[in-house]
């Protein structure tokens, strides 16, 4: 059940009415049933997988809380949670890599391909459940006594399949809070949902038409075409994923829940570290809290810090998919991070830190960070390392050639217009004129009213019906 489907709208209307019609004590059961229904409507079998992962962490959490053999229970909880992820998502990749390594050392080992379907959002709910056990181990939280609340936290339908990856101490207390229907919450949630839907069905899905065509056969297109396709992909993946997050946060808000912000104008970041504070914030903070900081963060010798950075980004890349392209994508970001640090060190050494305050330097950094991120996106989007290297070298060593308009010139022109519109809106949000998430807008109410009216109309007119969100596969 996709957010951009009529079935979801019908489902959500029913849940919304029941949620506020029921007495508070019954609402948690409604949310649990609705969340499992939402997930199992895609493939019912995988509902049991999510239930098992949740129960393992719930039980492990209690055992850790009791205080005996805490470390063992944590290890058991985490390893059993990761097993389904390893099997479904990384099984074939690991077997294939093992075969290749074996044959490289002269041992022939071939394995049949595992015929598995990747459960939607497995990386999201697994990480969400794992964070609970780790937080109890660290004594940041106490174990949740109610299994219903914990199961609902892991399965909470607005953010179940593509995040934001929430923490139990943020969501579970909200289940206890008595809520009544608030019109302003409803309107705020609706506004964000409409904006997210617009980004998804009008911008992302339209850009996908061009990007898919070019990336399916990159060898027949010119450097200019590949450059445009890569730039389009940068906006496609942003609109696709942030659009989903917006719809998730908006949906939760309508029900009276607050989810964490997942994007904060990432393409206006002025450094790679800034980019990662603005892109997929819930995952970045997850890796920060559960991987980077435990390894020592930046309070370690320099070479160890470099090692930590590489580990975090490579794991982040691997989290996104079982392919070397994702690992290289993560590695590229690690290299950017280190290079950026060297640049800062150089400015400090040459007493030119004042440059950082210059407006021009700021713009220069925004542009270079964006271009570097786009270069890395090639590896994220390409189907193989060879293809990614081919595309990136064709773009870097630019050769003149005809620019392809893709499936239609009208779509191409409209795509560019939509990107420009998005950039303008983001600049307004950057300068705090337009509302970003739930911040106060300085745009006159009449203009806001007309703006959302036109957004909704544009969704009707220009909305495309895609069957997938890019981040569902992670």
């Amino acid at each position: 059940m996709l957010f951009n489907s009529w079935s979801f709208i019908a489902f959500f209307i029913v849940v919304l009415i029941l949620h506020f019609a029921l007495a508070h004590k019954w609402r948690i059961y409604l949310l649990l049933v609705a969340s499992y229904f939402f997930y199992m409507s895609w493939k019912w079998e995988f509902g049991f997988l999510m239930l098992i992962v949740s129960l393992i962490n719930f039980y492990a959490g209690h055992k850790i809380n009791v205080g005996k053999q805490r470390r063992w229970w944590l290890a058991l909880g985490l390893s059993t949670s990761l097993l389904p992820l390893l099997y479904y998502k990384y099984g074939n990749f690991l077997l294939d890599t093992f075969s290749q390594v074996s044959s490289a050392v002269g041992i022939e080992a071939s394995f049949p391909e595992l015929k598995v379907i990747l459960p939607v959002g497995i990386s999201f709910f697994t990480f969400q459940a794992m964070s609970y056990s780790i937080d109890i181990y660290r004594k940041k939280i106490n174990a949740e006594p109610s299994p219903v609340k914990f199961l609902t936290f892991v399965a909470f339908f607005p953010q179940l399949v593509a995040g934001p990856i929430e923490r139990s101490n943020h969501i579970i207390p909200q289940f206890d809070k008595v809520k009544r229907f608030q019109l302003d919450e409803f309107l705020a949630g609706m506004r964000l949902f409409i904006w997210g839907l617009f980004k998804k069905v009008v911008i992302a899905d339209r850009l996908a038409l061009y990007v898919d065509r070019i990336y399916d056969n990159p060898e027949i297109y010119s450097s200019a075409t590949l450059t445009v396709a890569t730039l389009f992909f940068a906006f496609q993946i942003y609109c696709d994923f942030s659009g989903y997050s917006d719809m998730a946060i908006g949906t939760a808000r309508i029900l009276g829940f607050r989810l964490m912000q997942n994007f904060n104008l990432p393409y206006l970041a002025n450094s790679i570290s800034d980019f990662w504070k603005r892109w997929h914030i819930s995952l970045s903070t997850w890796f920060g809290d559960y991987l980077y900081i435990p390894m020592g963060g930046n309070r370690v010798p320099y070479l160890r810090w470099v090692f930590n950075i590489f580990v975090v980004f490579l794991v982040s890349g691997f989290w996104h998919g079982a392919n070397w392209t994702f690992i290289v994508w993560g590695g590229l970001h690690a290299i950017y991070y280190i290079f950026e640090n060297w640049g800062d060190q150089f400015l400090k050494w040459s007493n030119k830190l004042y440059l950082k305050k210059s407006h021009l330097y700021h713009i220069f950094k925004i542009i270079t960070v964006f271009l570097a991120v786009c270069l890395a996106w090639i590896f994220f989007r390409a189907s193989s390392l060879e293809e990614a290297v081919f595309i990136s070298s064709k773009i870097i060593f630019f050769e003149s050639g005809q620019l392809s308009m893709g499936p239609s010139a009208v779509t191409f022109v409209l795509s560019i217009a939509l990107i420009m519109f998005l950039v303008v809106v983001q600049l307004l949000q950057y300068y705090k004129i337009a509302s970003l998430y739930f911040t106060k807008s300085r745009v006159p109410a009449v203009l806001q009213f007309s703006g959302y009216l036109l957004l909704l109309l544009s969704i009707g007119l220009f909305g495309m019906s895609s069957n997938a969100f890019i981040y569902f596969q992670f």
Binding site: W6, L183, D184, L187, V410, L453, L457, G460
Partner: protein, 311 residues
């Protein structure tokens, strides 16, 4: 002081309800308006409201094959050109029905035919999306209902702006701008075509009885309204015509049979002398602007001769 807070809350809530209600009403009004503007534009583009005595009906083969403006100028009559990319025989029957309803002055319908028109495979399976703008018409609505899912049907029925895609919006705009040209520049790569044929990459001809039956039904429907039909064969390149010569000739035979069977039908075969002139083609079945001009001139000659003969 609780009552003060309640009053404030009530006022606030009332304002919220008013804003929400105004938003919904404004959306409905705007949606209806946009739907009406685009529908009118589309009808202008297709010439459905022109009360044209002569109309062209078919898919992209006919769309790129005939210049409507040239026809109008040379014949001195209004011409409706109701053509859409990828429409199959069933779609065309529905289009003919809609045309009959809209164009009360219709006397002659030029119906684009080709050897592949009775082949189910290869044409758009979702071509019904082209008719969403006209779904308020009962016949069109029923036609769409059969092909679309219930959620798709009802969402389009209720929200008019969702009935359009970029192609339809562009056509509606062209209707207002009175831009009737349908041109594809360039020439077919004959060597590549030969290679494709050698590798078996071509659309096979399958004369399916169901599709032939639908064409017969279309002819009967038009006959009932006293409309003459010209089954017009716009040239397709000889290289593809010759791949399945037997089936190709069988298709031509069907058109001749229909001509003999119905007194309101005439088969006009413009294959020659054009099918061997490869420079006139954009691709195996579509003419380029040069080809379009020559074929339109030929058609005009035939139509003028007919008119003179009738006089």
């Amino acid at each position: 002081m609780g009552w003060i807070r309640d009053t404030k809350y009530d006022r606030y809530r009332r304002k919220g309800v008013v804003v929400l209600a105004s938003f919904i009403i404004s959306f409905v009004v705007l949606d209806t308006l946009v739907g009406a503007v685009f529908q009118n534009g589309l009808e202008r583009y297709y010439g459905l409201n022109d009360n044209a005595p002569l109309a062209l009906l078919g898919h992209s083969h006919l769309m790129l094959g005939i210049d409507k403006v040239m026809l109008e100028q040379e014949l001195g009559v209004k011409v409706a050109k109701y053509t859409s990319e990828g429409v199959n025989v069933a779609d065309r029957k529905m289009m003919a029905d809609y045309l009959l309803q809209k164009d009360k002055a219709l006397k002659t319908l030029i119906y684009g035919v080709d050897a592949w028109m009775f082949t189910g495979e290869g044409l758009s399976e979702n071509s019904h999306v082209l008719f969403y703008p006209f779904m308020d018409d009962d016949a069109v609505g029923e036609f769409i209902k059969e092909k679309a899912s219930p959620s798709e049907f009802w969402s389009k029925k209720l929200i008019k702006s969702t009935r359009y895609n970029e192609g339809l919006i562009a056509s509606a705009m062209r209707g207002y701008l009175q831009k009737w040209d349908n041109l594809k520049w360039g020439k077919i790569n004959v060597e590549k075509l030969r290679l494709d044929i050698a590798q078996g990459n071509y659309r096979a001809i399958k004369n399916e009885a169901d599709n032939i039956k639908i064409l017969r039904e279309t002819i009967k429907m038009l006959k009932k309204e006293d409309v003459k039909i010209i089954l017009l064969y716009i040239p397709t390149i000889d290289l593809v015509n010759e791949i399945q010569n037997k089936e190709f000739l069988e298709s031509i035979g069907i058109f001749r049979e229909l001509e003999a069977e119905y007194d309101n039908v005439e088969f006009l075969n413009l294959l020659e002398p054009f099918s061997h002139q490869h420079e006139l083609f954009f691709d195996p079945i579509h003419l380029n602007p040069q080809g379009q001009k020559l074929v339109t001139e030929d058609l005009i000659k035939v139509l003028k001769a007919k008119r003179d003969g009738e006089k």
